[in-house]
């Protein structure tokens, strides 16, 4: 049995192999799509840079990382705070980039063919 995309009929294996370079955009609610399209490229870029910069500062700025050094409390999810701090930062960037990907996808900006055709 082979998994197939409900919309295009392309097999999942084909997509993994890269034979389908332009799969259909992710399905999103109309509100989400409208929101994504309402954003300007500048606001998307600003948001992305701010997100990356915030994580960068939290991890790289000496006063920031020294302030959590040795901190055990509050213990969150069973983890000393300093451990949670580093996992949280990694997760924040991961989630942020996933949201960015989703927005770009809804705007049709991830596929060369769609941009080319002005879809």
């Amino acid at each position: 049995m082979q998994l197939r995309c409900a919309r295009s009929g392309a097999s999942a294996l084909m997509w993994m192999d890269g034979d389908v370079s332009s799969p259909p955009p992710l399905q999103g609610g109309s509100d989400m799509r409208e929101f994504a399209r309402s954003l300007t490229p500048r606001s998307i870029m600003t948001g992305s840079v701010v997100l990356y910069a915030v994580v960068l500062v939290m991890v790289l700025f000496p006063p920031a990382y020294m302030s959590v050094s040795g901190m055990r409390n509050p213990v969150i999810l069973g983890l000393p705070f300093v451990v949670f701090y580093y996992i949280f930062n990694a997760a924040l960037l991961g989630v942020g980039l996933t949201v960015l990907y989703r927005i770009e996808d809804l705007r049709g900006e991830l596929d060369e063919r769609r941009i080319e055709e002005g879809e």
Binding site: W15, M16, D17, G18, D19, V20, S21, S22, P23, R37, S38, T40, P41, S48, Y52, V55, L56, V59, L60, F61, P62, Y65, M66, V68, S69, G70, M71, R72, V75, G78, L79, P80, V82, V83, Y86, I87, N89, A90, A91, L93, G94, L97, T98, L100, Y101, E104, D105, R107, G108, E109, L110, D111, E112, R113, I115, E116, E117, G118
Partner: protein, 523 residues
């Protein structure tokens, strides 16, 4: 011994089986097909290949040892890997479009094109290959140690080294023959075993299930010394943590193997999707490994030998079978890293060093040279691995190599995101930066106390950046060069199609892209 070696043999045979079944009888014969798999891979393959090139087998030894021996110290790897891999998202569009438009095969290829300079291309390539070499040697030597463990100590270190190196050398026959395609197909399997299986085992151990020697609950009561960041007391200065993570972040895409993954992807979408998947796989795997390491600080046998902690824990948890599995996970990660390093080194030697401007080699010639370079690279690494076994200075070379490879970052990042700079500044910056970084790291292998524990690589980077900017300020860009750079950047702003493996002219369909932007502005 029988179980560990048996599991290793099964794993190895599966890898060889995958290579046999995926080997294409008919090849297009193009160098792009050989070097970057014809830019045809989807996000999961690219992601797993990236993770394989990112976390070598030593992650289970050196990084695990850091967490088990020094606690939070190990988490610097999570910080730099997340930020470093995340950076790929932001340069994905430009780098992929340039790659597809100009049929670029490697990171130095891009730099050469950006600065219109063969010298820049050669310097970047030489720095990359030299930086990779000690890691391949160390990886081969680590395999020797691994077989020593797998044999239960019954094989001498010398015999284990011979077996370890023989196994990896035989594997490289397919790397040489198949190029990138041989790498990507096995990376998926190796990655699942190395990172998937180890994550699963780690999670089970952290739950405290069965006879697990550790538990997540241990973490909340760890002594404070294990929660202190280096530089907060102790012998390191306050900038040591910054230097470690910063070097890792900017070094992420300086490693030739990492950047190469952009050019194996089938589209901008595939690069961006693979970035997110890489962050997920890498982040979950590494976080679990570090939590296991930190939870193990209270295990006396691990405290006595933190670097062997992964094997110790799995032996205590599941006896012979889990020890065998531990060996296989490390072997899988080590193999994936060495494969990627050998492949990209051969590619860069052929494509960026041997090939001269004005005298382009045919695809067949390039492929032959790349294959020969890979074989030569592997042979040299084998000789060095044998002759330098137990030499501590080799570890120093590996440290220098890391400080060295980040010197590519100045022309790489400034070249991608800024139209300024010129080839003289790019070349001189890398040369001076590399020299300063190498010399400083030779005298201060770990940190420079007088500079708050900054590392030699950071000092080299500062010199590199100053040279790049000063040379540009003094010499500027000629009118012709400015126009060339503008045209180069215009290519990255417009959609570019990948047409098979052939060289494709950028599809300058300004209307489509511009209409979209206009539409966005209206919205």
């Amino acid at each position: 011994m029988v179980v560990s070696l048996g599991l290793l043999s099964i794993f190895y045979l599966v890898v060889i089986g995958i290579l046999y079944t995926t080997q294409r009888k008919e090849s297009t014969g193009s160098f792009s097909e050989y070097a970057v798999g014809g830019r045809s891979y989807g996000p999961w393959y690219v992601a797993m290949s990236y993770v394989n090139s990112w976390w070598p087998g030593s992650t289970f030894i050196a990084f695990f040892g850091m967490a088990a021996g020094a606690g939070i110290f190990g988490f610097y790897g999570l910080a730099y890997s997340t930020l470093g891999v995340g950076l790929m998202y932001f340069l994905a569009t430009r780098a992929w479009r340039w790659g597809a438009a100009y049929d670029l095969q490697s990171q130095p290829d891009l730099l050469g094109k950006r600065f219109d300079s063969h010298a820049v291309r050669v310097i970047a390539s030489v720095v990359g290959v030299i930086a990779v070499f000690p890691w391949v040697v160390l990886g081969m030597q680590a395999l020797g140690e691994l077989f020593h463990v797998a044999s239960g100590g019954t094989w001498s270190v010398a015999v284990s080294l011979v077996v370890g190196i023989a196994v990896i050398v035989v594997r490289q026959i397919w790397t040489v023959n198949m190029g990138m395609r041989g790498l990507i197909m096995t990376d998926m399997f190796q990655g699942i075993v190395a990172y998937g299986v180890s994550t699963l085992i780690g999670v089970i151990m952290l739950t405290g299930m069965g006879s697990s020697p550790i538990s997540l609950s241990t973490l909340a009561t760890l002594p404070e010394q294990f929660l202190r960041i280096p530089g907060d007391g102790g012998s390191y200065g306050p900038l040591y943590w910054f230097a470690l993570i910063f070097t890792g972040v900017i070094g992420a895409l300086c490693w030739p193997m990492s950047f190469q993954r952009i050019y194996t992807a089938s589209s901008v979408r595939a690069v961006k999707a693979s970035t997110i998947r890489t962050m997920l796989i890498s982040g979950v795997f590494y976080t679990v490994l570090m939590l296991v390491g930190m939870a193990a600080v209270t295990v006396p046998e691990v405290a006595a030998d933190p670097q062997g902690g992964w094997f110790t824990l799995l032996d205590q948890f599941g006896g012979t079978w889990l020890t065998g599995l531990a060996v296989v996970t490390v072997f899988a990660a080590a193999m994936g890293h060495i494969d990627g390093s050998v492949q990209v080194s051969g590619l860069q030697i052929a494509n960026d060093i041997v090939q001269r401007p004005g005298k382009p080699l045919s695809d067949r010639q390039l492929t032959y040279i790349a294959k020969g370079s890979m074989a030569g690279f592997m042979l040299l690494a084998t000789v060095v691995a044998f002759s330098t076994f137990n030499m501590t200075r080799l570890q120093l070379l590996a440290q220098i190599s890391y400080q060295l490879v980040v010197q590519i970052s100045v022309p790489l990042f400034l070249g991608i995101f800024w139209r300024g700079g010129n080839k003289y500044g790019a070349a001189a910056g890398m040369v001076f930066g590399s020299l300063v970084a190498s010399i400083m790291t030779f005298f201060f292998p770990d940190d420079i106390p007088a500079l708050g524990s900054l590392t030699g690589g950071i000092v080299g980077l500062a010199v590199n950046l100053v040279v790049y900017l000063v040379v540009y300020a003094v010499m500027g860009q000629g009118e012709e060069e400015r126009e060339r750079v503008n045209r180069f950047f215009e290519v990255a702003q417009r959609p570019t199609r990948r047409i098979g493996a052939a060289v494709t002219e950028p599809v300058l369909v300004a209307s489509g892209a511009d209409e979209l932007r206009d539409e966005d502005r209206e919205l």
